[in-house]
Symmetry: C2
Amino acid sequence: MPIRFEIIAQDKTTRARAGLLHTPHGVVETPVFMPVGTGGTVKGMRQEELEALAVQILLANTYHLYLRPGHELIRDAGGLHRFMAWPRPILTDSGGFQVMSLKSLGRVTEDGIWFRSHLDGSKHFLSPERAVEIQLALGADIIMTLDECVEYPASHQTLERAVSLTTRWAERSKQAFARGSGPEPLATHPESVTPNPPSQIPRSSLFGIVQGGTDKELRRQSAEALMGLDFEGYALGGLSVGEPKSEMYDVAEFTADLLPRERPRYMMGVGTPEDLLEGVARGIDLFDCVMPTRNARNACAFTSEGKVILKNVRWARDERPLDPACGCAVCRRYSRAYLRHLFVTGEMLGAILATHHNLHFYLDTMRKIRQSLLFGEFAEFHRKVRMQP
Amino acid sequence: MPIRFEIIAQDKTTRARAGLLHTPHGVVETPVFMPVGTGGTVKGMRQEELEALAVQILLANTYHLYLRPGHELIRDAGGLHRFMAWPRPILTDSGGFQVMSLKSLGRVTEDGIWFRSHLDGSKHFLSPERAVEIQLALGADIIMTLDECVEYPASHQTLERAVSLTTRWAERSKQAFARGSGPEPLATHPESVTPNPPSQIPRSSLFGIVQGGTDKELRRQSAEALMGLDFEGYALGGLSVGEPKSEMYDVAEFTADLLPRERPRYMMGVGTPEDLLEGVARGIDLFDCVMPTRNARNACAFTSEGKVILKNVRWARDERPLDPACGCAVCRRYSRAYLRHLFVTGEMLGAILATHHNLHFYLDTMRKIRQSLLFGEFAEFHRKVRMQP
């Protein structure tokens, strides 16, 4: 089994737990935040810097990599790790979310999703099998099944239909994964005595995605159906799509409780620093979100004192670091005044430095959460952070 | 005297020399290439990375910093070094070149240059005195006099007028510099017993700029007039403005020969890697050019095998480094295929990595030149490089 998950600490009063996720590219300490490297790069960050920030696992978007440079090119280059020179673990999504969020461009059928490229309008088809095939070519450590993600609010009928389709797709994904990553392809060359070169050995693990919106009964149906298929990890999809925070937390807790304790749980596309803490408290192990990186490019920084809008004229002569409580390379060296100047003049370095800081803030938040778990202080940490103004 | 120049090696067959330029912010090994940090940042590069690349001195543009964030803001922040968190030497230009290259926006009079901001059309006036005042506020180690730079080709009359105006402006600059950096301002507060805080101690040195186009007699007049004013260094202006290479080299050699041996010589805005070598052979010590950084952003890399156009489809599956002979961090880690992907998809990281490589290429070229001087092998190095296809 390519991945192995080990729980090393469990909070007594909440569902929070700390673990080790062993992958073919190294061990990930959970709970973990995964920066988003959409097209094989976390915008504005070198891989060296991500390593220096102690990023443990990256997320990459199958949709974007499929369109450019193409999954076959990446497969031929030895997989995504090698192509982008990132030696640590990678998780890829199925591509379905991007395809469906480009509304007018996608059409969902029983077979899969027809969509048009946002780049040139060309027509493409993404089926559960195809999503697995593309992701196996990319060669991420963790790959995701194709699912149907529904907007909030949605009718019960819509949600039910999506859960049922997601279940059928999960089954097809599982079968495609077994074929694609199993011994069958070797059987076509029975005379071959050379083992596959390392880059072709399938080393991915497949996660299923629970849907059901804010409907607990549907979440239960979805979770149980997926568990019947026995995935190596389970994701909570269809959250943070417009529902109130309290509902999101409630559904996350309800759904996490349904899932097997010994498998990693991944809350997709979530969220704010607060969401990380609340998600962990509800038993989530993995998170990803574009917020720290996208906000950074829009001159919005996360700090211990809340969000800082970097273009604000009040920082024009402010010689303090962006976050006086932060020890990142940016806060140790550069002033708010300089960062503001960079954003006001449209210099690339503004986005570069703000991205570095925001990622540090997210990763550091998660490190503190994990430390509190290891030392049996999570409940206290949780209470303290919640009580902050 | 804030700067001191020391020649430590002199080639026997050419005018090339190696030296040490002692400045208030450290010692610069010459000949040296200065990356251009237009608005207080070398586009796409962190200051940490510039340090790691062993950048010894940066150039910043007075015009841009005067408009945004303003020289007074930078002065109040403790000067440009502190504002941009760059502890090593800085040279600023006078602003005149930018003002005049924005053609329709500038008007030259005896007093100075009227110009409109390229940002909002607001009207500004730059006199020799004002250029010194602004640069003293920025606090660079080396500052430049305001000069009139003429395009190529120009009539003898135009060139003569520009030389004569540049000479009068140089004299006014020298006087303004003496007032601005001398003891006079202190005299207005005779009761003060507190010494000026370090950031206000004038530590700049003023360089004069020789003009005269490709007219040697005018170059001689210009150089002699400036030498009469005794500058701490001399620049060759008005080169690389369209004249043939052979003329540029010829004029550089002729002009460098006129200048005092013991003062640093700076060829402004030049040039290609070949120009650095040819400039050094003619006795030049300092160079600056936007070429490595600007070309990088336009997906053009300098390599030991010539220029590489990074968007070229032939690199789509090329797993070799950008320059197999290069030991920079980019060539050690990333493939041409990945760099091409970044540029084709418009990712920031493309410009970041190409800028890093190109700067490394320029700095490394200059290091090799300097090494050859220290070991008495410059002539051989020069001959070898020239003989390459």
